[in-house]
Amino acid sequence: MLDSIAFYFFAGVAVLSAALMVTRRNAVHSAVLLVTTLLATAGIFLQLRAEFIFITQIILYVGGIMVLFIFVIMLVRLDIALHHIRFRLQRWVALFVALALGVEITVVFLFARRLPGQGLLIQEPAPADKLPPNTEELARSLFSSYLLPFEIASVLLLVAMVGAVVMAKKRIDQ
């Protein structure tokens, strides 16, 4: 019961703030609404008992990436006239793409189970109190089976850091 309430609350907040985010004119408002969406997504992770991903989402995404976004929005803030021409044609393209994708995935999900013997094999999730401790499981898997991707991810972050600094540095002109 608590699970359902938590899920519907967080899902509603996530979808609502995401929808608002892509329609605001003010970029800082969009950023704040994205923060709300990310916090709601973290709530969904917590409801799924994935506690480490929940706290990683909050620390990295909200506390790191969104601060970076807000910094850059403040830096490139132009007081441009907000009544510029929006992409009129592109709006219909976007709606069509969204509709097509949505219908396609819904059809796949709903009809796949009707195929005899070839449905999506979805079992019931394990009850919440019998789950192994999440962080230990994640660490065990991360440092044994997925060690190589872990190291590659760290190299990736190093490369991204160096790249971002190089891109954003002011060139001292000769």
């Binding site: 019961m1 608590l2 003010n26 800082v28 408002h29 704040v32 923060v35 506690e51 480490f52 929940f54 706290i55 909050i58 620390i59 909200v62 506390g63 790191g64 969104m66 601060v67 807000i70 910094f71 403040m74 401790p133 999440n134 962080t135």
Partner: protein, 451 residues
């Protein structure tokens, strides 16, 4: 009578979770009050270190000063700058305060007091959610639409982000020793090892101390909000109740950071030497300390100039004695012994957090402020490499102890000395760099004895 299923679900929920709800309400109601009294303590300490008395007029010995301040701030005019973004201007202090209060939910004041019970990622939750206050700072600075605010906000955010990394790495050092992220399990690990982690990894404690001072924008790292520098930094355009939210959020953050340091490094709710049985008489220290405070009040009561102050001191002394009796009761009455860890644990925890905050305040009144580039250099060039080397050395010490059978203290000492050597090397580099930077300027220095 059968209740409708919705109502029954609500009642079951309340039955299971009422303790947590009450603790949550207590946090929201009591923390601003406590933060206000921490401000009073700071003013009194500042006065004491500056050989004066501090607030004395409002209430006996200034004890009602926070109430007066709160009332004043509540009735002040609410000024919103002209072109400020109203929604975000309203939202920013709220984010700051909410982040500080939410992170208090996972802190364990004793083996039984915890709102977010046994969450698997306890200490990371506290650190992560309290870092959401950063958003409050930068949004507040931007929404104020003023130069001082934006510069203060950017400086403050840059400082917080840098020192957050150093603090996190210092925490990792202590977490390696604990082997778990759950708060109760960390203190239990310290009880099993029989020693507070500060003795096994003092370098990590020191790094966390410095980083947490920078995290909460306290002096000597308070450039973003110092009055002589930026008026009030990101808080410039906030007045009245909104400013008090920021201010109280900062002091609540201090309490959170002190609690994290106490849990990780100072043994949480354990008394000193928790496993040594011949030191069990230390269990009598809490009531003795409180009774000692009462005796001091009795001693000072005779020296008060005004009669009502004499009555007040006697009242405080009697209250202290009553509390001391409550603390001593489980020690003598065997049927009450089960509340001993909780009650005394809470006392030790609060004592340690108070000591940590006292250290903060002491440093504030003693040290001059860091310039911003010196601040950033300290964070990135010295503390972060040192924290990384510290994590490595703790790992080496643990391997030496478990695989090679070395003595734990010897391994810890050796690796700490190595880390301190690296620290000395880094500081030496910094000194050489500043000396080189300033030497061309001073090469042509005037000879003071010339002419």
């Amino acid at each position: 009578m059968t209740l409708p299923p919705g109502l029954e679900a609500i009642l079951t929920f309340l039955q299971n979770w009422w303790v947590e709800i009450v603790c949550g309400v207590v946090i929201v109601a009591v923390v601003p009050l406590i933060a206000g009294y921490v401000v009073l303590v700071e003013r009194k300490l500042m006065a004491d270190m500056q050989a004066r008395l501090g607030p004395m007029r409002v209430g006996p010995h200034g004890l009602l000063q926070p109430i007066a301040d709160a009332l004043k701030l509540l009735i002040k005019e609410d000024i919103i700058p002209d072109n400020a973004d109203k929604l975000i201007f309203w939202l920013a202090p709220v984010i700051s305060m909410v982040a500080a209060m939410t992170s208090m939910g996972a802190i364990a004041f004793g083996p039984a007091f915890q709102v977010a019970r046994d969450i698997n990622v306890g200490i990371l939750f506290v650190v992560g959610v309290s870092s959401l206050g950063l958003l409050g700072i930068i949004l507040g600075g931007w929404a104020s639409n003023s130069h001082y605010s934006i510069i203060g906000a950017i400086r403050s955010t840059a400082q917080l982000v840098s020192y957050e990394t150093a603090a996190g790495l210092a925490i990792v050092g202590a977490l390696l020793l604990a082997g778990t992220l759950r708060i109760r399990a960390i203190v239990d690990a310290q009880q099993q090892l029989g020693v507070w982690f500060i003795f096994l990894t003092p370098v990590a404690f020191f790094i966390y101390l410095v980083a947490s001072i920078a995290e909460t924008n306290r002096a000597p790292f308070d450039l973003p909000e110092a009055e002589s520098e930026l008026v009030a930094g990101y808080m410039t355009e906030y007045s009245g109740f909104r400013w008090s939210l920021y201010f109280l959020g900062e002091y609540a953050n201090m309490i959170v950071v002190g609690s994290v340091a106490t849990t990780l490094f100072l043994g949480g709710w354990l008394r000193p030497f928790p496993n040594v049985h011949w030191l069990d008489w230390l269990d009598f220290l809490p009531p003795l300390i409180i009774a000692g405070v009462g005796v001091y009040c009795v001693y000072r009561a005779g020296k008060q100039p005004v009669e009502i102050q004499i009555w007040f001191m006697w009242a405080v002394a009697l209250a202290c004695f009553a509390v001391a009796v409550i603390f001593a009761a489980p020690l003598f009455v065997t049927s009450l012994k089960f509340i001993l860890p909780g009650l005394h644990g809470a006392f030790w925890f609060l004592l340690k957090v108070s000591g940590y905050i006292y250290l903060f305040m002491w440093l504030r009144f003693t040290l001059p402020r860091y310039r911003f580039d010196q601040l950033m250099h300290l964070g990135w060039y010295i503390l972060i490499p040192l924290a990384i080397v510290n994590v490595l050395s703790i790992g080496v010490a643990m391997i030496l102890e478990s695989e090679f059978g070395w003595n734990r203290w010897f391994a810890a000492l050796l690796t700490s000395l190595f880390t301190l050597g690296i620290a000395a090397f880094l500081v030496n580099l910094y000194d050489k760099r500043t000396a080189a930077a300033s030497s061309p300027a001073t090469a042509a220095a005037t000879d003071p004895y010339a002419g």
